[in-house]
Symmetry: C2
Subunit: 477 residues, 2 copies
């Protein structure tokens, strides 16, 4: 009756543990868990397990461990790098966290939220917001991505410039280790120097060292004032100089500092309805800056006006518009958020989620633009992204009217061209998205030697049978 290669004793034990609806084996039920949302990877699995709490999860993992069955942790299935998709062998089980979805408490003294892994980021944000607090992490997939997944991948997003990545927000953590034992690090302590940083190690390990089941997330008071401006600048160096001007006055006021190239902005203005440029004329580059503070006084407005006033006088900023209402603010953010969609409508594109030191950004964009234009005449180099973190989405859009397939056939040439320049400048080939299975092949050349060796030693020590999310992060030895 069951359509699974799981050993019958394991299958029966799992059904007894998790109930019939906790063990999916029908391909119609499991298929959605075996394909990533970008449909880059089509895997197979022996079953999808849906534990409802940590105890069930731990017992399920222990059973799989005893039977030597590989396990693929999966949250909202929004990985950009195939990090939560099983391979094509069909031997692994997917362990879905979606049933573990309780928000246990919000602590106003500690400003923390205790939450299960399967709660979506959006649900957690909303729960904080309903109590006048802010969960300061925002990514475009937040409606589906869950807390376990954002921690497993150390998610970033628009507010990293102010609050750091997911790792910095996790004050406590609980995870099930590959052998089914429970690692309980659910402490609410800002200072605790009692041994190795296991919490930080689990965060960002992409499910290869354990399955995150719960977390204590640090919250912030909700902003009571906010100022948002779209600014025209001459080039990336101008954007960086403007960032430095804001940072010099008050780094903690900068909640977002986003860069958009003129090329990418033109695509938005031309291809997205209702996204016309609210400035007098197109510019070579743009910055969207948002200041925010829990303070209700008007000092943020004067800070914004003072800095932009000086920048306009000096010619650093050539034009700027300040949001005068929440709806104007949302319009400015819409312009930023539509860059991915506009690029999609412009034809085939190749994405590079890279980071470099701030000082190297102008050289990176100039050199990489030149190299890509030399590689493919007519290519539209359309970078944008979180310039305050040094994180540029260096996206490449096909020449107008060109054949998309022919363009995409050169994707590796384009990616390698960009990567070579990133590397020369001390950057990273994955700023936000992680390694998953898409980028494991890059690990030996970029993170080789003692670094990769140490990662392998840690993996082998914690997961000697290589059962937890095999094939992710670390390439085959």
């Amino acid at each position: 009756m069951t359509q699974t290669p799981l050993p019958p004793p394991l299958h029966d034990a799992l059904v007894q543990l998790l109930g019939p609806s906790g063990v999916l084996t029908n391909p119609a039920d499991t298929e959605a868990f075996c394909v990533d949302w970008r449909a880059l990877y089509h895997g197979k699995c022996a079953a999808v397990l849906r534990p409802a709490n940590t105890a069930e999860c731990a017992q399920a993992v222990a059973l799989c461990h005893a039977h030597n069955v590989p396990m693929v942790p999966q949250g909202g299935n929004t990985s950009m790098v195939g990090g939560a998709t099983p391979d094509s062998s069909g031997l692994a089980v997917v362990i879905s966290t979606t049933r573990m979805n309780q928000i246990h408490s919000i602590d106003h003294a500690d400003l923390t939220m205790t939450v299960d892994a399967g709660v979506t980021l959006k649900a957690a944000q909303d729960a904080a917001s309903a109590q006048g607090l802010l969960l300061p992490l925002s990514i475009s997939s937040e409606g589906s991505a869950d807390i376990g997944g954002i921690l497993a991948t150390n998610a970033g997003g628009n507010n990293t410039v102010r609050y750091g990545n997911a790792r910095e927000l996790a004050l406590g953590l609980e995870a099930v280790l590959p052998d089914g034992s429970v690692l309980d690090l659910m402490r609410k302590l800002r200072k605790d120097n009692t041994g190795y940083a296991l919490r930080q190690l689990l965060v960002g390990s992409e499910g290869t060292l354990g399955l995150i089941t719960q977390a204590v997330i640090q919250l912030q008071p909700a902003p009571r004032s906010r100022e948002t401006a779209l600014c025209a600048v001459e080039n990336p160096q101008g954007a960086l100089n403007l960032f430095a001007a804001f940072r010099k006055q008050d780094p903690s006021a900068i909640h977002a500092f986003e860069f958009m190239s003129g090329t990418s902005m033109a695509l938005v203005n031309n291809l997205i309805e209702g996204a016309s440029l609210p400035l007098e004329a197109p510019a070579p580059a743009y910055v969207l800056v948002e200041l925010a503070s829990p303070r209700a006084d008007d000092s943020l407005r004067s800070l914004m006006e003072d800095i932009l006033g000086s920048a306009l006088e000096e010619g650093l900023v050539t034009d700027a518009v300040l949001a005068e209402s929440e709806s104007q603010r949302q319009s400015l953010w819409m312009i930023r958020e539509e860059h991915a969609e506009a690029q999609k409508r412009a034809g085939a594109s190749v994405k590079n989620d890279v980071s470099v030191p701030l000082a190297a950004i102008p050289e990176f964009i100039a050199d990489a633009t030149k190299a890509c234009e030399a590689l493919i005449p007519g290519i539209r180099v359309a970078p944008f992204g979180h310039i305050g973190d040094g994180n540029i989405h260096f996206n490449l859009v096909q020449p107008e009217g060109a054949d998309p397939a022919a363009f995409l056939a050169q994707d590796h040439a384009m990616m390698d061209t960009v990567a070579a320049i990133v590397r020369k400048l001390g950057g990273s080939f994955s700023a936000e998205h992680g390694v998953g299975q898409l980028k494991t092949y890059m690990m030996p050349s970029w993170r080789g030697g003692a670094e990769l060796q140490t990662m392998r030693q840690i993996k082998a020590a914690i997961d000697p049978q290589n059962l937890m999310n095999p094939g992710k992060v670390l390439p085959p030895a």
Copy 2:
């Protein structure tokens, strides 16, 4: 001629590598490296090695590794827990980082400093300050403690409430692993999701996984405005409520938020010259709050006055004094900083560097006070510390006129009494100071099970011969 148990070929190779002054074997030269500054531990060593750069350090470690010689990394030798002191066997070498003391660069675009492990924290702070920047970590031993040591122990201090511990400040890291290979993580990237968090793991591992040789430290713009106030409150809950009031308005303005019990303050006022209480009358408890911002406008002053005004009206604060000059500010800080000295002058004392969740602080202080007073009638319970981080130095001073030795003979009873309450409340037995050799015995009961097991697995994987700082952090299996 040499007075060392080192195998002659190893000794000769080390002298050839490091020069005669780089290999100390004369007991008169090595003795200072074998005793911790509190003189709790008197160890011996086979030699003190003093490499001048990473390459020398790596080769020296490789040589010791090949000869199976244990190594004890040592920076400024300011550990509070014997973390940098060799054992009494005399078999280990101490590897001192004091010769590796170059500040390589300060990057104004990235706001980072690239620095050798052996640079003292004070020297690094001064170098940042000379360029209008702030290295936002401050501890009382900063004149001796070096960058390698503060990272190895994940140091905290007065500004953790705003900027986090040392771990949060280290953007890049270089370390020599136990086999002599160099782990180069000297990247200046705020976003880099390419594998396991080795940097975070090395930080706080107290030299047991490798020897930190260089770091990239994140800096901040120097404050241009600062407001400092000493406030009288009714009890620890009052201090916490005041903290919440400041945090609700602007967490990022709070550079320090320190608690002092009335008992501890009375010792300072009575025993330290020039440290009279600048308030009308003694109170049950006090808070020293410092706001700071790189903004030069006057909004910080109004923020301080608004919050304290409301707090005085509500009776949350019963009296307060604001520093009206830099010298008044320093006087207020002097009162805070003299607590350790005042307790020393009051006789024998027992120190507990503990943390609990913020919400649990009032219960912790009340219960631990009651329990200690029941244990030793007349004991002076004199807590103070970084209440904004939940970190209380719960110090116990002998009864007036009692015999110091008799009091100290009960130190374990006192520590265990305090620890039991900390543990019940989900706290930590070492908030700032680490484990070293002083507290390894507490690891199995506090961090046992999967947590200690995982730490042991990592240690065995990276240092299978147990050569790097053996006997620290992890107790014998």
